[in-house]
């Protein structure tokens, strides 16, 4: 899932300064799972903004709406009525949702309330960790299911580097060395000899170096 973190409240109020009718729009997808942008967080942010307005003597109204996903046009359309009544929309979705709202409602001022952090998973309740670097060419089959692109601080494909010490990374001693993990896992699987195969230089054009990416599957297009 996409993991996001709500922006500080003063930053949000600064970006909506002057708006009289604010809509706080949530997303029922990833940000609901990582507890930052679902129905509950929408209610909390809207209440905080209303209280702030009330105490400071502002006249702005703050409404709430949450859709299944903000990254699908079908759901974004369901916000039409609420968006029409607002002069500013604060999106608690990830950066994708914010942009889909902007594209669908080009005449509205859409602001993000989140900093979109990474693609990861829930390690424990309240703890999320990054797991995928979206490099566009998965090599997990060769690395024991541990991604060196994102879990090695230097994204080294033929590690470990000289900074690996006692299984920890020199960049942050709390971070396990990805290549140490890879070695241990491959050894567990009896596949450690596969490490003698040198990874070729990675084709980063399949990642961000190729510009914005697009995936088209003709067989499922309508």
């Amino acid at each position: 899932m996409i993991v996001a973190e709500r922006k500080p409240l003063p930053e949000i109020t600064e970006s909506i300064a002057g708006a009289q009718k604010v809509l706080v729009a949530g997303c029922g997808g990833c940000v609901t799972v990582c507890l930052t942008g679902g129905q509950n967080e929408v209610a909390v942010l809207a209440a905080a903004l209303r209280l702030e307005q009330g105490v400071r003597g502002g006249a702005a109204t703050v409404a709430e709406a949450t859709v299944e996903r903000q990254c699908d046009k079908e759901y974004v359309e369901k916000l039409a009525e609420a968006v029409r009544d607002a002069d500013c929309v604060v999106s608690l979705a990830c950066g994708v949702g914010v942009q889909f709202l902007s594209e669908h409602y080009p005449d509205k001022y859409i602001v993000p309330a989140q900093n979109t952090k990474f693609i990861g998973g829930t390690k424990e309740h309240g703890v999320w960790e990054e797991r995928c670097g979206l490099c566009g060419e998965c090599i997990l089959a060769s690395t024991g299911g541990i991604c060196p692109v994102i879990r090695c601080s230097k994204s080294i494909l033929n590690g470990p580097c000289g900074g690996s010490s006692n299984g920890k990374c020199e960049v942050n001693p709390d971070t396990p060395c990805a290549w140490s993990l890879i070695y241990e896992q491959l050894k567990r699987l009896g596949r450690e000899l596969s490490l003698s195969t040198v990874f070729p230089v990675k084709d980063w054009s399949k990642s961000r170096d190729g510009g914005p990416r697009k995936s088209v599957r003709e067989e499922v297009r309508l």
Partner: protein, 155 residues
């Protein structure tokens, strides 16, 4: 006599509510509204902010003593969550002093009277909720999120 202020208390039914039932009725001038919750850990930012939006001058959450929590970590979880709510109250200009957390033993009857007195004193010190001063239309308190859980727990 019209109550001087409004205090909303989210009280765990296993400890604070029992303490309330055992002890003397609170002798305070402020209006006191209690919301029964199945655990203090059930009280989240949404419930507290809704209480302030409804015009509460102060809100308190009363749960078990941390080592006696029937749900083991509910009481300590409440404390962590409400610390975060305090930051929101500071941001909004209400101030975190309007929110308090208490740990109560279910067998300590007189304690609840003292909590009510402390909260009433805090309200008189801080003054009314600025939202009330601005005479905003009073919203009805909707704590269904907590009550629904209570009902489910009784089934």
């Amino acid at each position: 006599m019209k109550p001087n202020g409004k205090i909303i208390g989210f009280v765990c039914k296993f400890c604070a509510l029992a303490s309330f039932d055992l002890g003397p009725p609170p002798d305070i001038a402020s209006g006191l509204e209690l919301v029964e919750v199945p655990c203090a850990g059930r009280v989240d930012a949404r419930a507290v902010l809704t209480a302030f939006e409804s015009g509460a001058d102060a809100v308190f959450v009363a749960g078990c003593r941390t080592h006696e929590c029937l749900n083991l970590s509910g009481s300590s979880r409440a404390e962590k969550r409400l610390a975060r709510v305090g930051e929101i109250l500071d941001f909004a200009g209400l101030g975190r002093n309007r929110l308090a957390v208490y740990h109560v033993s279910g067998t300590h009857g007189p304690r609840f009277d003292k909590i009510a007195a402390e909260m009433a004193e805090q309200v008189s010190r801080l003054g009314p909720n600025p939202l009330s001063i601005r005479k905003q239309p009073e919203r009805s308190v909707d704590h269904d999120c907590c009550r629904a859980e209570t009902a489910a727990g009784n089934n």
